[in-house]
Amino acid sequence: MVESALPLQGLKVLDVSSFIAAPAAAVVLGDWGADVIKVEGPDGDPNRRIMTDSANYPKAAVNYPWEMDSRNKRSIVLDLKKPEARAALDRLLKWADIMIVNFPPLVREKLKLSYEDVKPVNPRLIYASLTGYGESGPDRDRPGFDATAYFARSGLLDAQRYEGGPPGVPGPAQGDRATAMALVSSILMALIHRMKTGEGAWVGTSLLGNGLWSCGVIAQAALANAYLPHRPPPDRPRSALGNIYHTSDDRWLQLTIVREDKMWPPLAAAIGRPELVNDPRFAEITERRRNSADLAAIFSEAFASNTYAHWVKALAAGGITFGVISRPQDVPHDEQAVACGAVVDTAIPELPRTLSNPIRLSFAEQRKAHPAPRLGQHSEEILREVGLEPREIAALKSTGAVK
């Protein structure tokens, strides 16, 4: 499949960001060939420790989130609060094509790392900024996380609830990773701009903007004063045939029956209740809708009597359509997840497989994931590459500006 160089080969990226959305965008650029240098403070990106620090993360023996968000990057430790680090950083800025930051604007100004500060050093630089809530406005300096900015503030969590129930539950980094693709797109637009004009540019996106884009239907409807009622809970659905059911092994089945008139008898047979077809309460669509709570109760009892695997087989045998609600542990073993390129092999022995970014190209394949860097693993190598003499590097190290 590979017939030419990776599309971003030769591009140099400084990832001066932390946690997930912005570093994940740098990962995608690296997957497609860019040389990504992660610039970290002396304590490292806190994402190195998130698996143990966050109660919401699955625990494992391998630091999989760090591996995933830092694959194929090199690490240099620069203490940007130390004045001595600045000269080294400027060397890196001159060398780089793209710089990714996610400091809130205030911190950026304090560190003299706003686009205005950096542009004179390298006018061809593409400066990509991720914020929680945008570059200006009352909340611009508020740290944004995907649970708060992408999901809660955008109205997603409120809309994602059952009638009378609590707000929806976002998965760890779910909005961050979706946002990374918008940041990648904005960087690629700037590369086009640079090719046309020779000039660098500021580009960016916000978690709030991405949350609202993803729930664009709800937001656009709200702009037209239209609102979605909360979904009725599974025990009183609008239609028992378009509802979810709990199986005996704590899984859920999504019935998605479109041709209800045709599929009602085989469905009744498949759940072992063929006599329902003759029940006047459920004779036609109108009756079934009117008595949907009664029908849902019958279905619930039936589905709770057997396992998910049993029902998948029984429904398929009856030609009855249903939506698969996979558990996370099912996906890595799903043949289709491999076929669509989502689950790929790595060159990391203790983490043999990972998630690829969702872009597919006929002319190139994503680079295989190699181990994420140790903190400061490449500090010296990188400083030599940008032309620092060994004694300059030693001097930087002695002040603690480089580790």
Binding site: M68, Y133, E135, G209, N210, S326
Partner: protein
């Protein structure tokens, strides 16, 4: 600023339906591309009717989703099943820079619209395909929707639930629109490849791969045996002071009193329950955690006694941290959303505001959108641009190839 739109001069054929693929075309149009939507004569893209047909859409008299997914496009109503339509389509393909399809592979083959079919016509074309589940594998021909492919199959819905509760809820097109950003990135990488090699290419993505990417942290953990901890429901919290509480007006407040060693007394005073401070059951942090459900039983009725807005007033400036769970109705007037450039004015009186795509560029602003095109509105204009005479246009109409 707008003359520098990065995609000005590019011709895009949007031969796709529903949301993810058309939304990618919208983002290209927002940044300057000339997008021609090729749709079936008569009804056009079925998505045109979702606002009145889809049970999961908010009800409105105005076609608000079309402002999101149809803006800034020209419409050509061409019946691709009619042989007379083929020469018109081929002429367009020869002129186009980008073509976007979302037919499942068998339909693509039947219509002779696979990349292999198209490449000989225009070897410089960037051909972009969206599928539900990928281009190969057992489920490649399965129609994919975002609720099934992005949310159900990827494990997101199963992850997004409370302990013992039903799966999470996805909002209409939520995964589609996130996927659109990946398509944009894929297309821009294809353009870069073309600039570098002079050759076109196939690029694409699948809803499944995007869902898996969004759920990547959880899946990467699952791949090595890490299991997501299901979140406890709000009435059975592990810590009653970092929990969700329903307010009197059926909204939810995210209480975030992490430092209850310092804030316990303030908290009791602020919510008007000074008695709790001396309650022997809750004297220290350990006790409060151990008796989280008892504490919840005391606090929940208090929060239920006032509206969300009243609580915002009560809690603000007390130092008691809480998270905002926004509603769509609030977000549209959120000052911060305005600063983040999330909404845009349109020149369509019926839908005066719309949601911007999340990409922000320092050198260009997204185009202002007007009234989305009616089915076939630009038939004659486009055909004349292709050099068709009035007689030829009339003949195409007569044959039913042009709607």
């Amino acid at each position: 600023m707008s003359e520098l739109l990065p995609l000005a001069g590019l011709l895009v054929l949007d031969i796709s339906t529903f949301i993810a693929a058309p939304a990618a075309a919208v983002a290209l149009a927002d940044y300057g591309a000339d997008v021609i939507k090729i749709e079936a004569p008569g009804e056009g893209d079925p998505h045109r009717h979702n606002y009145k047909r889809a049970a999961t859409y908010p009800r409105s008299d105005s076609n608000f989703p079309l402002q999101l997914d149809g803006r800034l496009k020209r419409s050509l109503a061409l019946d691709l099943k009619k042989p007379e339509a083929r020469p018109v389509l081929e002429k367009l393909i020869r002129r186009a820079d980008i073509m976007i399809v979302n037919f499942p592979p068998p339909a693509r083959e039947r219509l002779r619209l696979r990349w292999e079919d198209i490449e000989p016509l225009n070897p410089r074309l960037v051909y972009c395909s969206l599928t539900g589940y990928g281009e190969t594998g057992p489920d490649r021909d399965r129609p994919g929707f975002d609720v099934t492919a992005y949310f159900g199959r990827s494990g997101i819905l199963d992850s997004a639930r409370y302990e013992g509760g039903p799966p999470g809820i996805s909002l209409p097109a939520q995964g589609d629109r996130a996927t659109a950003m990946t398509l944009v990135a894929a297309i821009l990488l294809g353009l870069r490849h073309r600039d570098q090699t002079g050759k076109g290419c196939w690029v694409g993505t699948s809803l499944y791969a995007n869902g898996a990417w969004a759920n990547g942290t959880t899946l990467a953990g699952a791949a090595i045996g890490g299991r997501l901890v299901t979140r406890e429901p709000p009435d059975k919290p592990k810590n009653a002071l970092t929990n969700l509480y329903r307010t009197g007006d059926d909204r939810w407040l995210q209480l975030l009193v992490v430092r209850d060693d310092r804030l316990w007394s303030t908290f009791c005073a602020v919510i008007g329950r000074r008695d709790l401070e001396t309650d022997p059951r809750f004297t220290d942090r350990e006790e409060r955690k151990r008796r989280a459900r008892e504490l919840h039983a005391e606090i929940a009725p208090v929060f239920a006694s006032k509206t969300y807005a009243e609580w915002e007033g009560v809690l603000s400036k007390t130092g008691i941290p809480f998270g905002v769970i926004g509603r769509a109705v609030d977000v549209v007037d959120d000052e911060q959303a305005r600063h983040a450039g999330i909404f845009a004015e349109t020149t369509n009186p019926e839908v005066p505001r719309t949601v911007n795509n999340p990409i922000r560029l320092g050198f260009a602003k997204p185009r202002v959108s007007g009234i989305p095109a009616a089915v076939g509105q630009h038939n004659e204009e486009v055909l004349r641009e292709l050099g068709h005479s009035d007689a030829e246009i009339a003949a195409l109409k007569k044959a039913g190839a042009l709607g």
